[in-house]
Symmetry: C2
DNA sequence: TCGGGCTTGTGAACCGATTCAGTGATGCGT
DNA sequence: ACGCATCACTGAATCGGTTCACAAGCCCGA
């Protein structure tokens, strides 16, 4: 039968000490080596394991980190979440993973629920970095962002992508091969049309003299396929640059539906470098963000902040171009 | 500034009631309509939100469900975890997602940590369903399994796959097309070589007079590719049946490395029906388990059990064959 | 009018830790 | 020998709810 868990009082009784002493001893504080040993032995004997709930109530620390993803339909974000969960577990913390499904309102709700849940910290990949509630949130719990920063809302840490560089890498690659009319698919996000990434696209496009059409698409395969289909119908561009590999998968599907060949009829570029992208045929040429480094940085920053350590740290990730076969010069 | 949260006592004070009354009122118990209204108003006024930690300590319910996956390298299990997380959130619960990375020892450790964390229930996709610790675990927390049952350990619910049917579907399909020498790749799991799925394979293989070679492979792309490469080297089978789509992806990669064409040189079958499988070329023929139904069933079972409701329920999932282009008759 | 049964509501114990202020005892310098 | 730290440990308060046992008020039937 599931006998009740031992409490700290029982351990105290067994050792003839006060509960306070036991509490200290188990955390290696304020007591003599000898008592510590005695307590440890008794605890092991009774199978005592501190109750995390009671501990959380008393100490104010839950050991939990909220992970709020912009959209878990995106396979890359799934990998990110899984990686973070593992990384956190290694630091004796648990990840509470939630999905905003690309909806700013939902993002707001979930962020607040997470705070109400008393997480020690938050890792967020913001859907709407310009929303005003972030500032208040940052004051009640340390927030680490991945991707887009929070515009001075006071995040405890930021892992930012050099999107300028990423966009340049992609567009220059296409430009160098002779592409001129380029379709860009960005994830459905906040209603602010002037997001930095979009700005980079138009700036770079202008610099290179490109003719760019921007559309937004969700990460989900079915939905992305539909949007891509519209882009590929009619007077289509010679190349499509997608702001996530998951969206690029939608372009592959749409191209297949219409009997278009990649890169013969249309070149495709991604942004992420998910492992699956190398498996497609043709392999997806994409911008690689070194997911492992991002995960490690985020975990490190949030742990430090949750422990009350260093704040306001900023880590910049640099992208590299991963050339595969989905891009070629446009048909003459 | 982040002003301190309001407590139940403050709400009590504001309404002139006792904390107990407020506690009842907010949960819609034991009080008059009118008081309830008054309490609600005061709570809203003060921005009161019950502290989940304190509530958990007092009531013994954390609102959290542990989700222990066999291996999150498997994209299908990732989808499963994401789906469960969403489904649980809709029931006002949080999912604590952990990854056993295919290691029985780690599975055991994590399962116990999850229990120590006081989750209200557990959804497990067991790596080693025959391990003995499950029985003890099932007594201290309701456990719902997905995939393999727990051999009478007393799970509160089970969502089982009719693997017999799935294997039959796959092998009969291959057999009908004329395949005889078939390689089978099963996920690296517990050391018990007599797992039900394996038994089904040999039983069906015998029934159909097939020549079957079984090997185990991890879900990760790189590792699976390596194992698949060995299978494809030398005297290779005419078809490979993989017990997860993720492993099949490894076969695709290995085939590409060796310049083998699918299905020309070797046919490939998967088991899962991950969305990506339709995107590969050739599209992966696979056994479809209706992931949505599995997610809903698991969420329903675990919620019911956590609420102290019905136990020992068993839901059986039936597979369907999803034919695409990765299988053809063997070369003469 | 009395007693029984509901309905509302109260007070206090309790969940299981942490932490603060304080108490002897010991060690140390002078 | 005295004052002063330091060390090891204790008692009690605290975190913020839930829940149990009980009480007051009310209605109703006999």
């Amino acid at each position: 039968m599931p006998r009740k868990r031992a409490t700290i009082r029982e351990v105290a009784q067994a050792t003839g000490l006060s509960p306070a002493a036991v509490s200290y001893a188990l955390r290696g504080l304020q007591v003599s080596e000898e008592t510590m040993e005695r307590v440890r032995a008794a605890a092991a004997e009774l199978g005592y394991e501190a109750d995390p709930i009671a501990r959380a109530l008393a100490s104010g620390k839950t050991g939990m980190i909220g992970v709020l993803c912009g959209s878990l339909e995106d396979l890359w974000q799934q990998s990110l979440a899984v990686g973070i969960s593992r990384g956190l577990r290694e630091k004796d913390r648990y990840a509470l993973i939630l999905d905003a499904v690309g909806d700013p309102a939902r993002e707001r709700t979930l962020a607040q629920q997470l705070r109400d849940q008393r997480v020690d910290g938050l890792i967020v990949q913001p859907v709407d970095p310009a929303a005003t509630f972030w500032a208040a949130l940052c004051e009640s719990v340390p927030v680490v962002t991945i991707g887009d920063g929070l515009a001075g809302a006071g995040a405890a840490g930021e892992v930012v992508f050099d999107n300028r560089k990423g966009v340049t890498l992609a567009l220059e690659h296409l430009h160098a091969l002779g592409h001129h009319r380029i379709g860009v698919l960005t994830p459905t996000k906040a209603s602010t049309p002037d997001r930095p990434a979009d700005l980079h696209v138009s700036a770079e496009g202008e610099r290179l003299g490109l003719d760019i059409t921007v559309a937004t698409a969700p990460h989900g395969l079915a939905a992305a396929t539909e949007v891509a289909g519209r882009l590929l119908g009619g007077d289509r561009p010679t190349a499509v640059f997608c702001f996530s590999d998951s969206i690029a998968y939608g372009v592959y599907a749409a191209a297949a539906e219409r009997g278009l060949s990649i890169p013969g009829d249309v070149s495709v570029m991604g942004y992420d470098a998910h492992p699956m992208s190398g498996l497609l045929s043709p392999g997806l040429t994409t911008v690689d963000w070194n997911i492992g480094g991002i995960v490690r940085a985020a975990v490190r920053l949030v742990s430090a902040a949750a422990d009350g350590g260093a704040r306001r740290r900023r880590v910049v990730q640099l992208p590299t171009l991963r050339e595969r076969a989905s891009v070629s010069p446009p048909a003459a």
